[in-house]
Subunit: 239 residues, 2 copies
């Protein structure tokens, strides 16, 4: 093997290692965001104000990870000038970390409402629906991160297909809260807080969909944002 080939091979190995490092950074960030969602939900259901406080505070780590990973992406774009699938991977990751950061923000909102609701003795009467919604979006988030880890387009499509059910659940919950408020006006304040939690959870579902759209983009090269799930299936399975 001559010297040039050796150097080339070395460079190419380092480049692959950099891209691999980038992917595992995204998965670490995803893991932290998942954990924050889990904690926020637990704090809400158990009325644990201390856990809620910790969860709000931990969101700053997510923000830091976003900045670090974005900087790594730009550095790779500048030094390596990636093409084709590698370029899509880097651009996809730039958008994915922005979504993960917003999921962290929404989890922090849930936690902040959980802290305010912790003193409500009637908590158990209205938390089973938000808990169910929260479990649904947490599963979507986990599925989106798995789809990214395995670069699995079929799995990503299956997650996207779950979002309409989340939206329906959110609407049903809003109507339920509205009825509570009309019947017991003294509970308006806390019902509005529960509604804020539900809305934040519903947004986490939307962001999980965005993550899945990026997975499809970086594997297939199809930008499927703003398409319905049926159209996405056609483009992927038909192409």
């Amino acid at each position: 093997m001559d010297r040039t080939t050796h150097v080339d091979q070395h460079t190419s190995q380092r480049y692959s290692a950099e891209l691999e490092g980038l992917r595992s950074s995204v998965l670490s960030m995803g893991g932290l965001v998942e954990e924050l969602c889990r904690q926020a939900l637990e704090a809400l259901v158990r009325g644990d104000a201390e856990l809620a406080r910790k969860t709000v505070k931990a969101d700053s780590q997510v923000n830091e990870m976003e900045l670090n990973i974005s900087a790594q992406c730009i550095d790779i774009l500048a030094r390596r000038q990636p093409a084709a699938r590698d370029l899509r991977m880097v651009v996809g990751i730039i958008r994915m970390v922005a979504n993960l950061e917003r999921i962290g923000d929404e989890a922090a909102k849930v936690a902040s409402m959980a802290r305010k609701l912790a003193d409500d003795r009637d908590r158990q009467t209205y938390l089973s629906e938000p808990k169910h919604l929260g479990d649904g979006v947490s599963a979507m988030l986990r599925g989106a991160l798995d789809a990214f880890a395995r670069l699995d387009v079929e799995a990503a499509i299956d997650i996207i297909a779950r979002d309409p059910e989340i939206d329906r659940e959110f609407k049903t919950l809003t109507r339920l809260l509205m009825t509570h408020m009309m019947e017991q006006p003294q509970r308006v304040k806390n019902m509005l807080r529960v509604n804020s939690c539900a809305r934040a959870l519903e947004r986490i579902g939307d962001h999980a969909v965005n993550l899945c759209e990026e997975v499809i983009y970086l594997v297939d090269g199809n930008d499927v944002r703003h398409l319905g799930v049926e159209e996405i299936k056609l483009r992927h399975r038909g192409g």
Copy 2:
């Protein structure tokens, strides 16, 4: 001038024209998004269900512009391999169009609530605060787009500094709506709709801040996301 220099110069002129074209596409998309916000607010205040319906429908144009501009950005990254400030411009634009698209979504939400509120004869009794909030965030959006057009970091910082006032206004409005709901439970449904409008407007303010952070990044190279406005001023003016 020899032939190579001539070709180089020609290529470089085309490259500059491409970047310039990209910037003006973002400004066109921004102009459309601004117009949707204006229309959504007008539909809300005037109770104009037809204008509301048109505004919801026009959001798909915004989505299309996002896809087109993103594709242009990736194409430039692949063919031109931009460096330094040009690279920051392209990456900044990828993130900016995602924000503009979300502003379009929020404007569509306001419009969709406006349609549902159009029949309420008491509309005038509760719309002056949302109108004021909407005017505030519209001004922030306009300011953010101007700052981008002129690549003016000082102007971007001034817009970011306005956001806490918007957040305060949103909180005050939520408290006011809460009082209405407790005093007149039969109005809960519509007050929740007004609250959704207010929340969407507050988000538009957040996205305007994100746009300004991108302007600072692409001019200065400082990633100022998650910093307070005082820290941003220090980094910019001190650096």
